[in-house]
């Protein structure tokens, strides 16, 4: 799939972004910045972007700063895939004409927005429960687990051209996300988002550690460096 990279220049001044003003304004039109997470499917279907009210528990600040300046698509079929598919010759396919691109910010604005987002940490308790033990996993074993034993590839891209499309791409996951967040979300997605499309696969602690390490290694591969 072609990864779309569109940079939209905005005439927003840095002043607009001061004191989290932009979060209340522009960001909140597509993102849930106050919580709680969607409690019904009706609300979940309407989501245009990921919830940001726990952004400080989820994202890596340096990634936010860089992505906000050059936003490319992370979820191939949009936030809720159901709103972006059409029936094609071989079955459902993504209707790219319905996908919206994220606006791009200047470096100064991206830096200030990222700093505001990192303050939003209502789930410190969940993060504190996760401990990532240092260790390595062979890429081959990780890939086998990801594809064959755990079935993550059904919904996620493990490389730009391999895997499912309804979930966010995972070959960049560790660049975007804090390791404890990845562990916590894999352990119990519904604790973060009751209506998440991600199932709880009841992974053991050992498997959670393995998957986080695998995602960390995957994001460092040269082919996925973007």
């Amino acid at each position: 799939m072609k990864r779309v990279l569109i940079v939209v220049l905005l005439g927003l001044s840095a002043a607009t972004f001061a004191e989290g003003g932009v979060l209340q304004g522009s960001c909140s039109s597509c993102h849930n910045i106050k919580g709680p997470a969607a409690q019904t499917l009706k609300i979940a279907f309407e989501k245009k972007g990921p919830d940001l009210f726990y952004a400080g528990n989820k994202y890596r600040q340096e990634w936010l700063v860089s992505w906000l300046q050059k936003p490319d698509r992370i979820r191939p079929a949009g936030m809720y895939y159901g709103g972006h598919i059409k029936v094609g010759a071989k079955g459902d396919e993504i209707d790219t004409s319905t996908l919206m691109n994220h606006i791009a910010l200047s470096k100064a604005d991206a830096t200030s927005v990222a700093a505001e987002l990192m303050k939003m940490k209502p789930h410190d308790d969940l993060i504190a429960k996760e401990k990532i033990e240092p260790g390595t996993i062979s890429m081959q074993m990780g890939e086998m687990a990801f594809n064959k034993f755990l079935g993550c590839m059904a919904c996620h891209l493990i490389e730009p051209e391999y895997g499912g499309l309804s979930g966010p791409e995972l070959y960049t996951a560790a660049k975007r996300l804090q390791p404890q967040y990845m562990a916590s979300f894999i352990r119990a997605p519904q604790v973060w988002e009751p209506k998440s499309m991600m199932p709880n696969k009841n992974l053991s602690d050992a498997n959670i550690q393995k998957m986080v390490r695998y995602l960390e290694s995957l994001s460092k591969e040269a082919a996925n460096a973007n």
Binding site: Q39, T40, L41, K42, A44, F45, A77, Y81, G82, I85, V87, K90, G91, D92, E93, I94, K148, F149, L150, G151, M153, A154, C155, Y162, G163, G164, L165, S166, A188, P189, Q190, K195, S196, M197, P199, N200, K201, N202
Partner: protein, 116 residues
């Protein structure tokens, strides 16, 4: 009238729970369509690279070979619980038993079939 108040409160709580239950059509749309497709034929947006293609829910022949209990188990505990693919995940943390039962009936509507 504390008793009356308590009853009203109980009523309010129980109706909130009823409201929290999703329709099978919405649950199907949210969780099943990604693999089983918007028409239920097993041609969802995710299937391109799958080693095992998802079940065609409109296929009366294969669907009538599975009991309601088997379908319930597959949805709740995942494909491997009925010796099928790992790519079908368990939805026990997502759906209540009641919602899964509703989905089983929804599948019977899609296949226009019964067990046996």
């Amino acid at each position: 009238m504390p008793t009356k108040f308590f009853l009203l409160l109980l009523l309010a709580v129980s109706s909130a729970q009823v409201q929290a239950k999703e329709t099978p059509a919405d649950n199907y749309k949210a969780y099943c369509v990604q693999c089983h497709g918007s028409e239920g034929t097993g041609k969802g947006v995710n299937v391109r690279d799958m080693s095992v293609v998802p079940r065609d829910h409109t296929d009366a022949k294969s669907m009538s070979a599975r009991s309601d209990e088997t379908l319930f188990k597959a949805i709740k505990e995942g494909g491997t619980s009925i010796n099928k693919s790992i790519l079908m995940p368990p939805w026990s943390a997502t759906l209540s038993d009641e919602e899964i039962n509703d989905l089983v009936q929804y599948l019977r509507m899609l296949c226009k079939c019964k067990f046996g």
